[in-house]
């Protein structure tokens, strides 16, 4: 399976297998980028995996004052879920508990789309009758009186059914430090790609899972084939010199965005090289039968 080497980094001739998802985006603004980011971080906390969190969410990038509806600094947040109903539930709950509550924040649609999810039109009831509807041109906003003034929230945001979840890279190295350096470089490169997020902490996950478990009722469990401490005890996927594996999981609004992000990640890891970074890049799949989207690493080389 090991076929390619780029700048001394081996790249497996394999593919990442990803799934169709429902996704939406919101723009959060505040008086300063610090507080816009704070609202977004709070909203996207505990949103690493649909398995346990209901949705996967992350910050897609910062917006300048020229890019936001109210001319204040902002961030764009993407949310992914397996169904429209769950996405609506997660969006509503997270904006209500995390953005509405943040000092000076406002929340707007971050995605156009024929189909809509309720945003302000669901949260307006917090206004208890004092909420104010404001239509300006084609936009519809709700103004909800709160203790620091008003929380302004666009009535709806767009929904896409073309989103893809589960694009991934497995980054393998000789030490934990160099592997983390490679994974950080990849995460930093992918953070600049539009329309994608990496839902895990800092964009990196160290506990890649497989489906099922020996224990009844446990839906996902550790992927022993990639655990370096079990290398001699199980059917391993690791080389004899591998001491650490870190994974980057990518969700994107489109399949093209996921492919671009994986390409950017591979380019960053190979640029760092095997001495200071990773020695091998792989990808996770389920044999190709479960997910409709396949991203072959050989097609994404820099």
């Amino acid at each position: 399976m090991r076929a390619l080497t780029v700048k001394g980094v081996h790249i497996d001739d394999t593919f990442a297998e990803a799934f169709g998802m429902r996704a939406t985006a919101v723009i959060i603004t505040a008086d300063s980028i610090r507080w816009a980011r704070q609202a977004a971080l709070t909203m996207t906390g505990f949103a690493t995996s649909v398995i346990g969190c209901g949705c996967e969410a992350g910050i897609n990038g910062e917006l300048t004052v020229k890019q936001t509806p109210d001319r204040r600094p902002g961030v764009r947040v993407l949310l992914f879920a397996v169904s429209t109903a769950e996405l609506q539930k997660q969006l509503q709950g997270r904006v209500a508990q995390c953005v509405l509550t943040t000092s000076g924040s406002a929340c707007y649609a971050g995605l156009d789309g024929e189909e809509k999810l309720r945003l302000g039109s669901a949260l307006r009831y917090f206004g208890d009758g004092w909420q104010i509807s404001k239509r300006l041109g084609g936009k519809h906003y709700w103004r909800i009186p709160v203790m620091d003034g008003e929380f302004v929230c666009e009535a709806t945001t767009g929904l896409t059914k073309q989103a893809v979840g589960g694009g991934n890279l497995l980054i393998m190295g000789r030490t934990a430090q160099t592997t983390l350096a490679a994974a950080e470089a990849a995460a930093a490169a992918i953070a600049r790609v539009p329309d994608v997020i990496m839902p895990f902490p800092g964009g990196i996950v160290r506990s890649g899972s497989k489906v099922g478990s020996k224990y009844k009722g446990v839906r996902a469990s550790t992927n022993q084939a990639y655990c370096p401490t079990l290398r001699g005890a199980v059917a391993t996927a690791l080389d004899p010199d591998a001491a650490c594996v870190l994974e980057i999981v990518i969700d994107g609004l489109t399949s093209e965005a996921v492919a671009a992000a994986m390409g950017a990640g591979i380019a960053a890891v190979t640029k760092l090289g095997p001495k200071h970074g990773a020695v091998r890049i792989g990808a996770g799949n389920y044999g190709g039968k479960l997910g409709p989207h396949h991203y072959h690493l050989r097609d994404l080389l820099p």
């Binding site: 509806p69 001319r71 406002a106 004092w130 104010i132 404001k134 300006l136 936009k139 008003e150 302004v152």
Partner: protein, 269 residues
């Protein structure tokens, strides 16, 4: 695109109803057919050919040249396209229009934009009373779209307005925004007595204040609101002067407490 041009031959001896001269009603008609359209409002028959010189062109773009204040109902129920008028016109311009653009290089009479549902009206001169207001017996006035008046407007601008935006760069007469149901009315200049009289919801912004504010409006303090930034951004596409009003903290008066009291008047703090 070559517009369809109608040039008034002279001041007509009766008021004329120009409601048929809108893009969707002229689409596909020949010059001869257009010239036979009746415009009279009395028993004496008047057709387009009697009062206008017609230069045929695309009916989506209509120009009316040499207009006078006896031309009523220009842009009536307009659904798209554009009408540009040179000169003053009469009553009910743009009434019930749903889309498109109506531009008047002159002044308009009463009930301009009455019951308007969408589209844009720009008036370079003045507008008469009841801009955007309801016709007799109607519950709501303007229901959408945007009206920009560069000059002054008469009494009761935005009467019973339900949705949409009116921007007045000049001054406004008495009772601006009276009985507003919702929507946005911005007056850059001075406003006559009792703006927002019996308004239920909606927003009125006073650039230079008003003669008398009803005691049924309650001072809620000066605020720097995000909503003001959004309004400035939207209105700025039409009027830089009006957008500037929002670049300062605004004092919010809630009212009219004589009725529902969920409306607001913003004035300089």
């Amino acid at each position: 695109m070559k517009p369809l041009v109608l040039t008034l031959r002279g001041r007509p001896d009766q008021r004329l109803d120009l409601a048929p001269l809108v893009p969707h009603r002229l689409a596909g008609l020949t010059a001869a057919e257009i010239e036979q359209i009746e415009l009279q409002t009395t028993r004496r028959r008047v057709v387009v050919g009697d009062v206008f010189r017609l230069r045929i062109g695309e009916a989506t773009h209509i120009r009316i040249e040499g207009a006078c204040d006896r031309l009523d109902r220009i842009g009536h129920e307009m659904t798209g396209g554009e009408i540009i008028v040179d000169g003053d016109i009469g009553a009910r311009a743009g009434r019930l229009m749903t889309d498109g653009r109506l531009t008047i290089h002159g002044s308009v009479g009463p009930w301009a934009a009455s019951g308007m549902k969408g589209g844009a009206i720009e008036i370079f001169g003045e507008a008469g009373d009841r801009l955007g207001g309801p016709d007799a017996g109607e519950i709501a006035g303007m229901r959408g779209g945007i009206v920009l008046v560069h000059g002054r407007v008469g009494e009761r601008a935005g009467d019973r307005m339900r949705r949409g935006t009116i921007v007045v760069e000049g001054s406004a007469g008495a009772y601006a925004g009276s009985r507003m149901i919702a929507g946005t009315l911005v007056v850059v200049g001075h406003t006559g007595p009792l703006p927002g009289y019996l308004m239920r919801r909606g927003t009125i912004v006073l650039g230079e204040g008003s003669d008398v504010l009803s005691p049924t409006f309650i001072d809620c303090g000066a605020h720097d609101l995000v909503a003001a930034r959004l309004m400035a951004g939207f209105i700025g596409e039409y009027s830089a002067r009006a957008a500037k009003l929002f670049n300062r903290p605004l004092r919010r008066f809630a009212g009219d407490m004589a009725v529902l009291g969920k409306g607001e008047i913003f004035a300089g703090a």
